[in-house]
């Protein structure tokens, strides 16, 4: 289910929130509206926490993570690190890494199986990413842009990329990530996808300016149309019974 929201009148929700299948981190804001939207949607299933990273509210762009782990930049303070570690479930490995390109959310885009990273990231960081997040790492660009985290957003079900991505690139990325990809826009024609929306396997949040066309594209590619958690379990049950029987 895709929801529209705003963080303090800004439509770039992807900057101020990080959403994965296991947890959600929101920024500390003056008003509770933003947090309450996320809470209403997600708190039944996953922990929704509020934090700052490196003293800033840009949690979405500075951190990257999936259900297996979370990576924080080296500018994160120790208190923040501790706070996050305490709030998140124990299965999630929280790690602070030393990387020159410290806006990890802009440089790395990942789901639970695959990650795309900025072509200039160090080899050690790449190994840590593969290790902590438990993913296969590919160095790629999206539509000629090196900031893969900003210009695409994908989950285990599907992904949305920069509108100027060529068809060959789209096919290549799709085969790498093994998920359906579509080129589109968010927030009334903005091409910065990663900043404009956050998504996981059953929920997505985007800016208030997003038009209904964009919203329908998002819902169809991330397969959110009738994605309630019960439906996933029903699918699972159906396939289990099939194999058993």
């Amino acid at each position: 289910m895709a929801t529209r929201c705003q963080f303090e009148n800004s439509n770039d929700v992807g900057v101020f929130a990080k959403l994965t299948n296991a947890y959600c981190i929101c920024a500390l804001g003056g008003a509770e509206n933003f947090y309450s939207v996320f809470e209403a949607e997600l708190s039944d299933h996953i922990p929704v926490i509020k934090s700052s990273v490196a003293g800033t509210r840009l949690v979405g762009r500075l951190t990257v993570g999936n259900r297996n782990g979370l990576l924080l930049p080296n500018t994160t303070s120790d208190q923040e690190l501790t706070h996050i570690r305490n709030c998140l479930p124990d299965e999630v490995v929280v790690q602070r890494i030393d990387e020159r390109l410290s806006a990890l959310g802009n440089c790395i885009a990942c789901n639970d199986y695959v990650a795309l990273i900025h072509p200039d990231i160090d080899r050690e960081t790449e190994e840590i990413v593969a290790d902590v997040l438990g993913v296969e790492v590919f160095r790629q660009t999206v539509a000629g842009n090196v900031l893969v985290g900003s210009y695409c957003a994908f989950t285990n079900q599907g992904g949305l990329v920069h509108p100027k991505t060529s068809i060959e690139d789209l096919d290549e990325l799709s085969s790498l990530l093994q998920i359906p990809l579509v080129a589109g826009t968010v927030n009334r024609g903005s091409d910065v996808i990663g900043a404009g929306l956050v998504a996981n396997d059953w929920a997505a949040f985007c800016g208030l300016d997003t038009t209904s066309t964009e919203l329908s594209v998002i819902e169809s590619v991330f397969k959110l149309r009738d994605a309630q958690p019960m439906n996933i379990i029903n699918d699972l049950r159906a396939s289990l019974i099939d194999t058993m029987a």
Binding site: P119, V137, R139, G189, S190, D191, T213, S216
Partner: protein, 560 residues
């Protein structure tokens, strides 16, 4: 699995990339991505780049002169649907600074509707980086407003601001006939309001002082003149201290003409290198050229040099007497510095004396290469005429030797008479000249009035001079007279025409082949020098001529 090392843009070959389609964020139609990611119609519905540009403009137009006002004071003349009018209309629109104008054109409106429509195409940037192009129409309402010039002219017709009074104090108007042709060729009287023919000269009236000055500059380059400028106050505006004047330029042409006999004052003679004081004037352009018939030396002087020591003609055309050349012997080795002159000893007798008595004169003449025994020549008879002039008398008193006869030029009078007697239309000249339309003074009577016979004689002499002198012809335009040419060719007949074509001499003969061989060297204007009178042609002839010329052009191209 090893991470793939494909760097998207860093390969050495250019990967083939087809642009994919995205959905317009507003209406969902499939479009190519653009900076705003909206389809064109959605952008148009969202943004209007013509906002802020004036869509209706009023312009002022003067009905009399057809000019449009460009504030604050300039009136620009333009035809309907012309480039100038388009530029003027676009300049009038406010708000075009921020956008880029790509295309502009007129939409047709009825000529009397007093409306103009201009279609403009502009480009402007919308959102971030997307450039939008839009076409729209601007309406102009044309209002009547008389411009100050027409106002002044209507209130006070026939008023002029500057006048050039051109005068030459001689007894004929041949200089003015030649000047008229020069003015027509160079189109110097284009800005003239009126031209008036006056005793001893012509008046030119102008609406602006600058035009009069330009005309005087032109005159200075073709005739030797001196002039003075005067002005007369017409009105005075005390509030802005502006003065309206009428300017008058009095221009005087040097009173010498070709073939005049002149006695140079002593000072002038010595400054010319002791040129014999009796000289002939050979050419008048913007310099006066005088030549000594005895030493064959010539000298050119400017108008200012002339006016330092001015001199008048001792004897002019009216005093020319015909002489018959009895014998002529060129003096060997004496050529003037231009090969036109050849010193010769001639034995001449007055035409009136010829056959009656034996009065014979011996003279030295510069016409050695033109005159043959039996020719008639015109010259000044120094023994029989009364010549008056201070310099002349001083020269004679000092003991200067005066020749008996000074021959000036060859005469073709009898040949012309013979031709005229032979056939009426054959004599008609196959060429014509254009004229400037002048107002002529009404008083035909009295000593100051025009003498029609004298005017005709002047004109005939002018045409004869044109036939005789190729240098003079080169400075003006002479036009073919098509009807007379056709008549002549019909009269002569095809065989004679062929004979004429075979004779490759510049002076063409149209006469019969048997009798007078003297008819051959009657000077005529060769057909090559005549220009086609394009205005005289009616449309079909013009098209035929153009077609003929076009064919020639094609032929040239084929040869390439």
């Amino acid at each position: 699995m090893e991470p793939s090392t494909s760097y998207g843009g860093q390969v050495t070959f250019q990967p083939y990339a087809t642009q994919g389609y995205v959905l317009c964020c507003l209406c969902g139609t499939s479009i190519l991505p653009n900076p705003s990611n909206m389809c064109v119609n959605c952008i148009r519905s969202q943004v209007d780049i013509t906002e802020g540009i004036q869509k209706q403009v009023t312009i002022l137009w003067c009905k009399e002169c057809g000019r449009y006002l460009q504030p604050p004071k300039h009136w620009v003349s333009a035809e309907l649907e012309s480039k100038e009018l388009l530029t003027f209309c676009i300049k009038k629109i406010k708000g075009l600074q921020k956008v880029k104008l790509v295309d502009a054109g007129f939409i047709w409106t009825e000529p009397h509707s007093k409306r103009l429509k201009v279609k403009l195409t502009i480009q402007a940037e919308v959102f971030n980086g997307a450039i939008l192009q839009q076409t729209f129409v601007v309406d102009y309402v044309v209002e009547n407003n008389m411009c100050p010039d027409c106002n002044r002219q209507n209130a006070n017709p026939n008023s002029w601001v500057a006048c050039v009074q051109l005068r030459q104090h001689v007894h004929h108007k041949r200089t003015f006939l030649f000047l008229e042709q020069l003015i027509l060729k160079h189109d110097a009287a284009a800005n003239c309001v009126k031209v008036k023919d006056i005793h001893e000269g012509i008046d030119f009236f102008y609406a602006q002082r600058g035009h009069a000055l330009k005309f005087i500059d032109f005159l200075q380059s073709v005739v030797p003149i001196r002039f003075r400028a005067d002005k007369q106050l017409v009105s005075h505006d005390t509030h802005n201290n502006t003065y309206n004047y009428k300017f008058t330029f009095s221009v005087e042409i040097v009173p010498l003409c070709k073939d005049d006999l002149v006695c140079l004052p002593a000072k002038m003679a010595s400054s010319c290198g002791n040129l014999g004081p009796l000289v002939l004037v050979t050419r008048i352009t913007n310099q006066i050229t005088i030549a000594d018939p005895i030493t064959l030396r010539s000298y050119s002087m400017d108008a200012p040099v002339y006016y330092r020591h001015p001199f008048t003609a001792l004897a002019s055309q009216r005093a020319l007497v015909p002489f018959v050349v009895l014998d002529i012997e060129p003096v060997p080795g004496a050529h003037g510095n231009n090969s036109r002159f050849q010193l010769a000893e001639a034995q001449v007798a007055r035409l009136s004396d010829f056959g009656r008595n034996d009065t014979v004169f011996y003279a030295r003449t510069h016409l050695g290469n033109i005159l043959h025994p039996g020719d008639t020549a015109l010259g000044y008879d120094m023994t029989a005429s009364q010549l008056v002039g201070l310099d002349y008398e001083a020269f004679v008193n000092k003991g200067g030797r005066v020749p008996d006869v000074v021959l000036v030029r060859k005469s073709y009078e009898d040949k012309r008479r013979k031709r005229h007697a032979k056939g009426g239309t054959a004599v008609a000249r196959p060429w014509k000249l254009k004229t400037l339309d002048m107002e002529v003074e009404d008083n035909t009577s009295g000593p100051r009035g025009r003498n029609e016979a004298a005017v005709e004689a002047d004109r005939e002499r002018f045409l004869q001079e044109l036939e005789e002198d190729p240098d003079m012809r080169a400075r003006i335009n002479i036009y073919k007279d098509a009807e007379r040419l056709k008549q002549q060719q019909q009269q002569v007949g095809p065989e004679h025409h062929r004979q004429q074509q075979q004779r490759v001499i510049p002076v063409g003969a149209v006469g019969d082949d048997d009798d007078d061989d003297g008819d051959e060297d009657l000077p005529q204007i060769p057909l090559e020098e005549l220009l086609d009178d394009l205005e005289g042609l009616n449309l079909e002839e013009g098209q035929q001529a153009a077609g003929g010329r076009g064919e020639d052009g094609n032929a040239d191209m084929d040869m390439d």
